[in-house]
C-alpha cells in the first residue's frame, strides 16, 4: 500500500485528538436492548413513516390474496435468530413453531425445510410441520423431529457440589435433557446411540445416557419390566399435566375477565429437584426450602425411598441419591443401599459410591462393582491407591479434552476445567494448559488461573492477562504483591522425574515454578512409580525439594 502521498501522521501527532471512554454501563444497556429485540425476525424499526406502513400492508394483502386465489404456498423464508427468553414467548418459524419457557436460551436457523436449533438452556414445546425437519442440538443429545409435537427441556447445573456435598470428582455438571413426545415420531441420538421415542413417551439423557432397559438395580428382568412400566406411567402423567395446562391456558384466554391481564405462565423450571440441584438459588425455590427444616421431623423411610425411585426413573440421579440417603438415615435397608449405590454410580459420585459399596454384603459386591464400572467408577480396587495411579490406568487424554471442549462451548466452565485437568493429568499438552487457563478465568477460579498462568509461554502472557481481566481476574493487579501471595518451588530428583503439581503435569526435573502460597501436592513420576509429597509454599520464598530415587526405579 502506498501511504506516502501525504504523510500527515509524520508531521502532526494525530493521536492528540483523544476520545473519552464510552459511558459506563454500555454493555448492560446493549444486552438489555438486544435481549428485548430477539428474535430478529420480529424486530420492527423504531419509527415507520405512514407510507411505509401502507406499502407493507398493501404487500401483505396482495400476498394473502395471491395465496387464496391461486393456492400458492411458498416455503417459509430462510433466516436465523437468537432467543434468550425473559418471559414465555412464541417463536413462529413458518410451518413450525415453538412455545418457549421463560429463561430458555436457544438459537435457530432455517435453511429450506430444515430448522437447526441449538437449545442450550430451558424448556420449549416444538410443533414441527409435516414438511419441516427440526434438528435440535440439546447439549448432550441431538433430537430430530418431522411432523411431530414434542417438549425438550435442557437443565444444567454446576452447583451440585454445594447442594449435595459430594466430592470434587462429581462436581462437574449435571446436564439433563428430557424429551417428551406428544405426537409424531422423534429420533434422539446421544453418546453414539440413537433411539426412537414414541408418542406419549419421555426420555431423559444425561452426561452418559443409559437406555431405559439398563436402568435396573440388580439387572433382573422383573426390575426392567417394572422400570419400563413406571416410565410409561411418568410419561403419561406428564402428557396429561401438559394437556391440562394447555386447557387451562385456553380457558383463561377465552375468559373475558382475563383478557388483557398478564396470565402467569406455568413455571416448569421451578420444581423441587431443580431447586435442590441449584442449591435453592432461584427465588421460586423458597417454597421448597422449608422441607430441609422439617427434615428433622420423624421421617418416613418408605416414602423417601419411593421418592428416590421416582427420581431415578427420571434420570435425576443426584436427587435420587439424596432421597435414598435420607431414607437410609431413617431406616437401614439393604435394598435402598443398593439403589443409593446405583444412584451414586450413575451420578458419578465416587466417594458416595464407595460408602454405599462398603455397606453391601461381600457376597454381592462383585455384581455392583460391575454395574458401577459401566459408569466409569471402579469400586473393587484399593481406594488407598493414589488418584494419579487410577487416572493413568484408565484415562483417555483426548476424550477428556474433547469433553472439556464441549463443556467449554456450552458455558459449563467449571466442568470444562475439571475435564481439562483430568486430561492434563493423563498427558501434558501445552495447548490444553491455555484452555485450562481460559476455563479457570471464565469460572472465576483465580487460584487456578494463577496456577496455569505460570505455565503459559511468556511471550503470550500479556494476551492472557487481558483475557482473564474480562472475567474480573486481574493477574497484573496482583503482580506487585506476588511476594505476598506466591512463592517459588525448586525441584530436583535423581534420576530425573516427571513432576505433577496438584495433579497437573508441570514438567520434568530440574524444575523451578511459581506457586500460590499454601500446601501443594507434588508427585514425582519415576518410570512407572509415583511418589507424592506435600510441600508448603511460603510467601516470597523459594522452597527446595530434592529427592533421591536411585535404586527405587
Amino acid at each position: 500500500m502506498n501511504d506516502t502521498e501525504d504523510n500527515l501522521d509524520a508531521d502532526y501527532d494525530l493521536s492528540a485528538w483523544e476520545v473519552p471512554p464510552p459511558a459506563a454501563g454500555l454493555a448492560d444497556a446493549v444486552v438489555r436492548r438486544a435481549r428485548d429485540a430477539v428474535p430478529q425476525s420480529v424486530v420492527t424499526p423504531r419509527s415507520l413513516k405512514p407510507w411505509v406502513v401502507g406499502a407493507v400492508a398493501l404487500a401483505a394483502l396482495v400476498a394473502v390474496l395471491a395465496i387464496a386465489l391461486w393456492g400458492i404456498e411458498r416455503a417459509p423464508a430462510d433466516g436465523s435468530g437468537v432467543v434468550a427468553a425473559t418471559g414465555p414467548r412464541t417463536l413462529d418459524l413458518g410451518r413450525s413453531s415453538a412455545t418457549i419457557d421463560s429463561g430458555a436460551q436457544l438459537t435457530w436457523s432455517r435453511r429450506g425445510a430444515t430448522i437447526d436449533v441449538s437449545q442450550s438452556r430451558g424448556g420449549a414445546v416444538w410443533r414441527v410441520g409435516e414438511e419441516d425437519t427440526l434438528v435440535i442440538d440439546a447439549t448432550v443429545a441431538s433430537i430430530e423431529a418431522k411432523g411431530a409435537s414434542l417438549r425438550v427441556e435442557v437443565s444444567m447445573n454446576r452447583s451440585d457440589v454445594r447442594a449435595m456435598g459430594v466430592g470434587s470428582a462429581a462436581a462437574a455438571v449435571v446436564s439433563l435433557v428430557t424429551v417428551i413426545v406428544y405426537e409424531g415420531h422423534v429420533k434422539a441420538t446421544s453418546n453414539g446411540q440413537t433411539v426412537n421415542i414414541q408418542p406419549g413417551a419421555a426420555m431423559t439423557f444425561g452426561d452418559k445416557p443409559v437406555p431405559p432397559e439398563q436402568l435396573s438395580v440388580g439387572g433382573s428382568d422383573e426390575d426392567r419390566r417394572r422400570i419400563a412400566e413406571l416410565e410409561r406411567e411418568v410419561a403419561k402423567l406428564r402428557f396429561e399435566l401438559l394437556n391440562r395446562q394447555a386447557d387451562d391456558q385456553a380457558r383463561d384466554a377465552k375468559d373475558p375477565k382475563k383478557i388483557g391481564k398478564d396470565t402467569k405462565p406455568v413455571d416448569n423450571t421451578c420444581d423441587e429437584v431443580t431447586c435442590v440441584l441449584n442449591n435453592y438459588d432461584d427465588p421460586c425455590c423458597a417454597k421448597f426450602k422449608k422441607s430441609k427444616v422439617v427434615a428433622d421431623a420423624p421421617c418416613d423411610a418408605n416414602a423417601l425411598a419411593k421418592k428416590g425411585d421416582d427420581y431415578l426413573q427420571n434420570g435425576m440421579d443426584i436427587a435420587a441419591l439424596v432421597d435414598f440417603e435420607k431414607s437410609l438415615a431413617c431406616k437401614a435397608d439393604l435394598a435402598v443401599t443398593k439403589k443409593a449405590l446405583f444412584a451414586a454410580c450413575r451420578s458419578k459420585s465416587v466417594a458416595k459410591a464407595r460408602v454405599h459399596y462398603k455397606a453391601l454384603p461381600s457376597t454381592i459386591t462383585s455384581n455392583y462393582a460391575q454395574i458401577c464400572l459401566r459408569y466409569g467408577i471402579q469400586l473393587d480396587t484399593d481406594d488407598t491407591e493414589t488418584d494419579a495411579t487410577k487416572a493413568t490406568a484408565t484415562c483417555d487424554a483426548d476424550a477428556l479434552k474433547t469433553k472439556g471442549n464441549d463443556y467449554l462451548n456450552n458455558g459449563m466452565d467449571h466442568a470444562a476445567l475439571a475435564q481439562f485437568e483430568k486430561s492434563l493429568h493423563c498427558k501434558y499438552d501445552s495447548e490444553l494448559v491455555k484452555k485450562a487457563f481460559l476455563a479457570s478465568c471464565r469460572s472465576k477460579n483465580e487460584a487456578k488461573a494463577r496456577l496455569y498462568f505460570t505455565k503459559l509461554p511468556h511471550n503470550l502472557s500479556s494476551n492472557f492477562v487481558q483475557i482473564c481481566k474480562r472475567f474480573g481476574i486481574d493477574l497484573d493487579e496482583q503482580a506487585p504483591v506476588t511476594k505476598a501471595t506466591t512463592g517459588w518451588l525448586q525441584i530436583k530428583a535423581d534420576p530425573a522425574a516427571k513432576i505433577e503439581i496438584d495433579g497437573v503435569r508441570a514438567g520434568d526435573t530440574p524444575l523451578r515454578t511459581q506457586l500460590p502460597v499454601g500446601k501443594h501436592k507434588v508427585t514425582f513420576i519415576v518410570g512407572t512409580n509415583k511418589y507424592s509429597y506435600t510441600v508448603n509454599i511460603k510467601a516470597g520464598e523459594a522452597t527446595m525439594m530434592a529427592k533421591d530415587f536411585t535404586g527405587l526405579e
Partner: protein, 193 residues
C-alpha cells in the same frame, strides 16, 4: 483516570469460544463482546460525529452493538471480514446515515475534557485543531480518513466498508489529508520536531 482512545484504536481480539457463545445468544458472552469492542466502536462513532451532541454518539454505539448482536448468528468468523471490521462497517454506516439527517444540531467542537498541564497544552490545542479540521471535511472523506488513520483499515477494507472503488478511496483519503493539513497549518499548530 479514564482511558482515552488515542490515534491507533484497535481492540483485543475476542477469543473464538466467546464468539461462538455470543452467536448462541449467551448473555455473558454478549457482555464480553461489547466490553471488548466498545472502545473501538465508540471512538469511531465519536470521531465520525465530531461536533455532534454526546447523546447521539451513545445512541449510535448502542444501536451498533444491538445490530451486531442480532446479526451475530449469521456472522462467519472465517469470512472475508474480521469481527472488528464488520462492526466498524455497521458503525460507519449508522454514523453516515446520522450525518445525512437534515435536522442536525449546530456544530460544536468539544471543549477540552479536563485540565492539562502546561506541557500538555500544545497537544491539547493540536487535538482541538484536528477535531475542527476533521469536522469540516465532507462526510465520506471524514469516514475514509478516520478509518485509515485511526482504525488502521487498509484501502480494500475501507472500500468494502464504504462500498466505494479502490481509486475513490485513495483519492478521497488524499483530499482529506490535504484539507486537514491546510487546516492545521492555518490553525498554526506545531508540527512534530
Amino acid at each position: 483516570m479514564p482511558v482515552v482512545a488515542t490515534a491507533r484504536t484497535t481492540a483485543d481480539q475476542l477469543d473464538e469460544l466467546t464468539l461462538r457463545r455470543a452467536q448462541r445468544g449467551d448473555e455473558r458472552a454478549w457482555r464480553d463482546l461489547v466490553a471488548c469492542y466498545q472502545n473501538v466502536v465508540h471512538a469511531l462513532v465519536w470521531r465520525l460525529l465530531v461536533g455532534r451532541a454526546r447523546h447521539r454518539v451513545e445512541d449510535l454505539v448502542q444501536e451498533t452493538f444491538v445490530r451486531v448482536l442480532r446479526a451475530l448468528p449469521s456472522f462467519d468468523p472465517k469470512g472475508p471480514a474480521t469481527l472488528q471490521t464488520w462492526m466498524l462497517t455497521i458503525a460507519t454506516r449508522l454514523a453516515l446515515n446520522e450525518l445525512r439527517r437534515k435536522e442536525l444540531e449546530a456544530l460544536v467542537v468539544e471543549p477540552p475534557a479536563r485540565e492539562r498541564t502546561d506541557a500538555g497544552a500544545e497537544r491539547q490545542r493540536l487535538g482541538a485543531a484536528i477535531a475542527a479540521g476533521v469536522a469540516a471535511l465532507p462526510d465520506t472523506q471524514r469516514a475514509v480518513f478516520v478509518l485509515r488513520e485511526y482504525h488502521e483499515l487498509d484501502y480494500v477494507e475501507i472500500a468494502s466498508v464504504l462500498e466505494l472503488d479502490l481509486g475513490t478511496v485513495k483519492s478521497r483519503l488524499a483530499r482529506a489529508r490535504g484539507a486537514l493539513r491546510e487546516h492545521l497549518v492555518a490553525a498554526g499548530v506545531g508540527v512534530r520536531s
